[in-house]
C-alpha cells in the first residue's frame, strides 16, 4: 500500500464528487428533506375524524351511549348520530357520508357481555383500524359516563424515563441511520462503476496502482463526504435553532429537535461507521455490475432487506423466528440498535451494547472493503 498513490485516488474521488452537483445534492440535501418529511408526517399527522352512525337496538341505554359517544367524537372533530336501521347505516357507509357504523345490541347495560359491532367499508385497513381504536376509546368513555363506573387508568413508564411525548422519538434511530446509509451506498456504487464503464479502471489497472489502494482511496474519498453528510444530518436531526421573526418572515425553528438521551457525538459516530460500511458495500457490489442499472438492481438485494429486517419498519422482536438469523446479518440492525442505545437509553462510550454495535459495524465496513479489493479483477474489460 503506497500512501502517495492512495492519497492521489482520494483527492481525485473528492474532486469528482465536488464537481458533480447532483451527487452533492443527493448526499447533503436529500437526506435532510426526507428526514424532515418523515418527521413532519409523524408529528403533524391528523387524528382520524370519526363520523359514526349508530344503530340503536338497546333502547334508552343506547340513546344515552350514543349521546355520550357524540360528545366525545365531536370533541375530536367527528360526530355520532342515530339512524333508523342497519340497512340505512350500511348505505351511508357505502356512499361515504359515514365512516363507521356502530350497532348497539339489545340488552346493553343489563350485565352479561353483549357484542357491539363496528362496520367499516374495509378499503383502507390501516386508517380504519385507527378509527376503530378511536371508537373503542370513545365507547369506553361513553359507557363510563352512562354507568358511572370508570375503568382503572393505565400509565406507561419506561426504564429510561416516561415515553417522550414526541412521536418521532420511536422513528429517529431508524430514519437517521437508514437515509445516511442508503444515499452513500447508491452514490459510491454508481461512482465506482463509472470507473469501469469510462475505461479509466482499465487504464488504472495498467499503472502500478494496487487494488487495495483503489479501494482505500475510494473509501477515504467517499468517507470524507459521508462524514460531512452525517455531521449535517445529525446536527439537523438533533438540533433545533429558533430563528426569530425577521420582517415579514415569521419565527421558525431550524432542525428537527429529536430528543436524545445520549451524547450527539456518539450518534454521529454510530451513523458514520455505518455509512463507511455503505461505502465499502457500494464498491463491493459495483464490481459485479456492468451498468448503472445493475447497481440500481442491487437495491432490492442489499438495501430493502435491511429496511425490513433491521427494526426500521417492523420491530425485530416481532419478526418470525426463521428470519432472526438474517436480522443479525444486516449492518443496519447494529446501526439502529446503536442509535436506540444512544438516543433513548442514553448510552455512553463505555456501554457494552453500544461498543458491540460499533465493533460489528466496523467489521462489516472492513470486511466488504477487503473482499471488494479482491473482486476488482485485472480482467476488467
Amino acid at each position: 500500500m503506497n500512501a502517495r498513490r492512495t492519497a492521489a485516488i482520494f483527492r481525485r474521488v473528492a474532486q469528482e464528487i465536488r464537481r458533480d452537483h447532483r451527487s452533492v445534492a443527493l448526499l447533503f440535501v436529500v437526506p435532510i428533506l426526507m428526514t424532515g418529511l418523515v418527521t413532519f408526517i409523524v408529528r403533524e399527522g391528523q387524528a382520524p375524524e370519526v363520523d359514526a352512525v349508530v344503530v340503536n337496538d338497546a333502547g334508552p341505554v343506547g340513546i344515552a351511549v350514543a349521546d355520550a359517544l357524540d360528545t366525545t367524537l365531536t370533541g375530536e372533530g367527528g360526530s355520532a348520530r342515530i339512524v333508523a336501521d342497519a340497512a340505512s347505516a350500511e348505505a351511508m357507509i357505502r356512499d361515504g357520508t359515514a365512516s363507521v357504523a356502530i350497532t348497539l345490541p339489545a340488552g346493553l347495560g343489563n350485565g352479561g357481555s353483549p357484542t357491539i359491532t363496528i362496520l367499516t367499508d374495509g378499503l383502507d385497513p390501516t386508517g380504519e383500524a385507527s378509527q376503530v381504536v378511536a371508537v373503542q376509546r370513545a365507547l369506553v368513555t361513553a359507557a363510563a359516563d352512562v354507568t358511572g363506573v370508570r375503568p382503572p387508568a393505565i400509565e406507561h413508564m419506561t426504564l429510561y424515563g416516561t415515553p417522550s411525548d414526541d412521536p418521532m422519538a420511536a422513528f429517529a434511530p431508524g430514519i437517521i441511520g437508514f437515509f445516511a446509509y442508503f444515499f452513500v451506498f447508491i452514490l459510491t456504487g454508481v461512482s465506482f462503476l463509472r470507473e469501469r464503464t469510462g475505461g479509466t479502471l482499465e487504464r488504472l489497472m495498467a499503472t502500478p496502482v494496487t487494488r487495495g489502494e483503489i479501494v482505500s482511496g475510494y473509501t477515504l474519498g467517499f468517507g470524507l463526504f459521508a462524514t460531512i453528510q452525517v455531521a449535517l444530518l445529525v446536527a439537523w436531526g438533533l438540533g433545533s435553532v429558533e430563528v426569530p421573526a425577521i420582517g415579514p418572515l415569521p419565527a421558525f425553528s431550524l432542525g428537527l429537535g429529536l430528543p436524545s438521551a445520549g451524547n450527539p457525538l456518539l450518534v454521529f459516530l454510530v451513523v458514520l461507521v455505518a455509512a463507511l460500511g455503505a461505502v465499502s458495500l457500494g464498491i463491493f457490489l459495483s464490481t459485479f455490475a456492468r451498468t448503472e442499472l445493475q447497481v440500481i438492481q442491487f437495491i432490492p438485494l442489499a438495501i430493502v432487506p435491511q429496511f425490513l429486517l433491521s427494526g426500521i419498519l417492523f420491530p425485530v422482536s416481532g419478526l418470525p423466528e426463521i428470519l432472526q438469523p438474517f436480522v443479525l446479518l444486516m449492518p443496519m440492525t447494529y446501526a439502529v440498535n446503536g442509535l436506540q442505545e444512544v438516543l433513548i437509553a442514553g448510552a455512553d462510550i463505555g456501554t457494552a451494547a453500544l461498543q458491540l454495535d460499533l465493533v460489528v459495524l466496523t467489521l462489516f465496513a472492513v470486511f466488504f472493503a477487503a473482499i471488494a479489493s479482491l473482486t476488482i479483477r485485472r480482467d476488467v474489460a
Binding site: A8, I9, R378
Partner: protein, 253 residues
C-alpha cells in the same frame, strides 16, 4: 536476439523489448488469441493490423498483464508479466479515452502522474506540451473536443516516459491533421528508444510503422515491413496483401 538476456531479466537494449511465447487466450470455445509467439525489438514502431474482433486488444491486454493468458506467457523488458514493477515502465493508451471527464486537463494529468509515481509537475507539463494541451490545464476534460480528449489520453500514457508503449487504435476518430501529428510524436518517441505497439485497422497507417504484424482470428498471419509484406504477397498494396495472406474481406476498408 540473445535468449540469455531475457532470462536474466536484463532490460533496455540487450534483449527484445516484448516477448510473447505461445500465448493463448480463450473465452469459452473462442480463442481470441491463438498461439502467438514473437519478439519485438526496442526502439521500433510495430503496427498490429487486423479487422475488428481479430484479437488485437486482447493481445495487448495479455502483453501488459491486464489479462491472464490461458496458455503461454509474455515478457516485457525481460520481466514476465503481470508485474507491478513493469507496469511503471509501460504506457497504455486504451481504445476508449480512459480519462476522467469531470476533472480538468491538469487534474487528469496530475492524477496519472501520481498513479505512476512520477514526482513533480515537470514530466506532466512536458507530456501535455507534446500533445499541445499545456495551455488548456484548467479546461474540464469532458468539454474538450474528441481530438483533444484523444490527445489528453495519449499524454496520460506518456507522463512516466515509458520505454514501452501500447497504443490501442490511437487515431480512431481523429482528423487527418492530428493523425499526422500523432505519428510524428510516435516516431520521435521511438527515435528516443521507446518500443511502440500501435494497433489499427486502417491500412494507410501501416507504412508509418517499422514493422507490421497482420492479425487474423487471434493469429499472426504475416510479419515484416510494408515492403516485405507486399513483396511476399506479390501485391501492389497492403489491403490486397492482407486478402491474399488470408485476411478476409472485412479487413479492407
Amino acid at each position: 536476439m540473445d535468449p540469455a538476456a531475457t532470462t536474466t531479466g536484463t532490460t533496455d537494449g540487450a534483449g527484445p523489448a516484448i516477448r510473447a511465447v505461445e500465448l493463448v487466450k480463450a473465452f469459452g470455445p473462442i480463442r481470441a488469441v491463438d498461439d502467438v509467439s514473437f519478439e519485438l525489438a526496442p526502439g521500433r514502431i510495430y503496427g498490429m493490423l487486423g479487422p475488428n474482433g481479430s484479437g488485437k486488444t486482447t493481445l495487448i491486454r495479455l502483453l501488459t498483464g491486464l489479462a491472464r493468458p490461458t496458455q503461454g506467457h509474455a515478457e516485457v523488458l525481460g520481466v514476465p508479466v503481470p508485474s507491478r514493477q513493469i507496469l511503471a515502465r509501460i504506457g497504455y493508451m486504451t481504445q476508449s479515452d480512459g480519462i476522467y471527464p469531470t476533472l480538468t486537463v491538469g487534474e487528469n494529468a496530475t492524477f496519472f502522474s501520481a498513479a505512476y509515481g512520477v514526482r513533480g509537475g515537470q514530466a506532466m507539463h512536458e507530456a501535455l506540451r507534446l500533445v499541445d494541451l499545456d495551455d488548456r490545464l484548467d479546461s474540464i476534460a469532458g468539454t474538450l473536443s474528441g481530438g483533444q480528449r484523444r490527445r489528453l489520453s495519449l499524454a496520460c500514457a506518456l507522463i512516466h516516459r515509458p520505454p514501452v508503449l501500447f497504443l490501442d487504435e490511437p487515431t480512431v476518430g481523429i482528423d487527418p491533421l492530428l493523425r499526422v501529428e500523432f505519428w510524428a510524436h510516435f516516431r520521435a518517441l521511438a527515435d528516443a528508444g521507446a518500443t511502440i505497439v500501435v494497433s489499427s485497422h486502417v491500412m494507410d497507417e501501416a507504412d508509418r510503422c517499422d514493422e507490421l504484424l497482420f492479425i487474423r482470428s487471434g493469429k499472426v498471419i504475416a510479419r515484416g515491413s510494408g515492403r516485405e509484406i507486399r513483396a511476399q504477397a506479390g501485391t501492389e498494396n497492403l489491403e490486397q496483401a492482407f486478402l491474399r495472406l488470408g485476411g478476409g474481406v472485412e479487413a479492407t476498408r
